[in-house]
């Protein structure tokens, strides 16, 4: 199997060992990790990785992977349900968690938030011009998947929310 068919977008959390990711494909996979496995649509960092992976490496799969006990999700949950309105975010870490905090307003359970987060980031990735352009090319196969890594077992679980084209409601 040729290397780098896969782009993995995951959390920086040190409890998800690098080898958990790197051993999945012997040739190595293209990896982007940030706090709480986010894909913000205005983030050049993640967008550059996506563009390079899709346009240059021609990956066939993009995996967005959350994980249990995610500290970023915990922080967002706490901020969303704080009894006093929080101060406006100052500093890169607080700013970074604003979108996840918005999602967290609808959830009380951490596991449900972690899964909702993965779903949201899969949607974000699927909505990019980069991915849509790849889908418009009929000769090209590209799938976006949502996974969860279980810290307690070391195993990834496919959430079964994969997308391989724009939804019927979308206008390209």
């Amino acid at each position: 199997m040729s290397s780098r068919q896969v782009l993995y977008i995951g959390c920086s959390d040190w409890r998800v060992p690098e080898s958990a990711v790197s051993t999945m494909l012997p040739g190595g996979i293209f990896v982007h990790r940030n706090i709480a496995n986010q894909f913000h649509l205005d983030d050049d960092n993640a967008l550059s990785v996506l563009a390079y992976a899709v346009e240059h490496l021609k990956v066939s799969h993009i995996i967005v992977a959350g994980h249990t006990l995610c500290g970023g999700a915990e922080a967002a949950l706490a901020a969303a349900h704080a009894s006093c309105p929080p101060p406006p975010p100052s500093g890169p870490l607080a700013r970074w968690l604003v979108p996840l905090t918005e999602i967290a307003r609808e959830y009380e359970d951490l596991t449900e938030l972690i899964e909702a987060n993965v779903r949201a980031q899969v949607n974000n990735v699927a909505g990019t011009d980069v991915v849509r352009a790849a889908w418009a090319d009929n000769k090209r196969k590209l799938q976006v998947h949502g996974w969860i890594y279980d810290l307690g077992t070391g195993r990834f679980r496919d959430m079964g929310i994969s997308v391989d084209g724009p939804s019927k409601d979308d206008v390209l």
Binding site: M1, Q5, V6, S12, D13, W14, R15, V16, P17, E18, S19, A20, S22, T23, M24, L25, G27, G28, F30, V31, H32, R33, N34, I35, Q38, H40, D43, D44, N45, A46, L47, S48, V49, A51, Y52, A53, E55, H56, S60, H61, I63, L69, G91, P92, L93, R95, W96, L97, Q143, H145, L151, G152, T153, G154, R155, F156, D158, S162, D164
Partner: protein, 223 residues
Amino acid sequence: MPQDYVLARLLANNSDWAKDVEKDHPGFFEESAKKQSPKVLYIGCSDSRVPESVATMSMPGDIFVHRNIAKYPISIPLLPLLQFHLFDDNALSVLTFAITALGVSHIIVAGHTGCGGVQAALDTAHPPPDFQPPADPLPRWLAPLTEIARAPEFEGGPVALTEANVRAQVENIARTDVLKAAWAAANANVDEDVDVQVHGWMYELETGRMRDLGISVGKADVS
């Protein structure tokens, strides 16, 4: 959607890996959540094929670190094409978390040979015939690196540019508010050993060797 062979292979390999880890380090995953926070922040390229053992061994100031998965450093953004932009909340949030919440003592910026981003910057700065520049966001992302490649005083090919890139990112990290604050606190600390050091390394894909570029900066450099 039927599961693709590639995905099935990934999950099968993950399962094998998890079994091996449990066999070699019984209880590793159960203890995972309670694992001591790491002391190293590793910043590498998304294209990195650096084996973790290379990144975890022979840390400056450490006695030989046994190949123990439990000591694995926080693996971080794996910045695409190894850039640390001073206005980038993605990388800055990881750096901030690593320093203020985890208290890391070492930050390693590791470039590598055969870097696609470096080649793209070189080609943009000195276009070969028939060169098609990529569409944004890549040129935007690589703009600082392209400037280095374009500078009249820059000489050399991909390896030289990769090293210059690592140096530039070490300097960028040293300029962040969070590092400056950490160094100020460390210099005020009576314990001389308390420090945050930023190192620049190069990984050679061809030989599997990691090389320290000898450009480390710590609190002593700003006191």
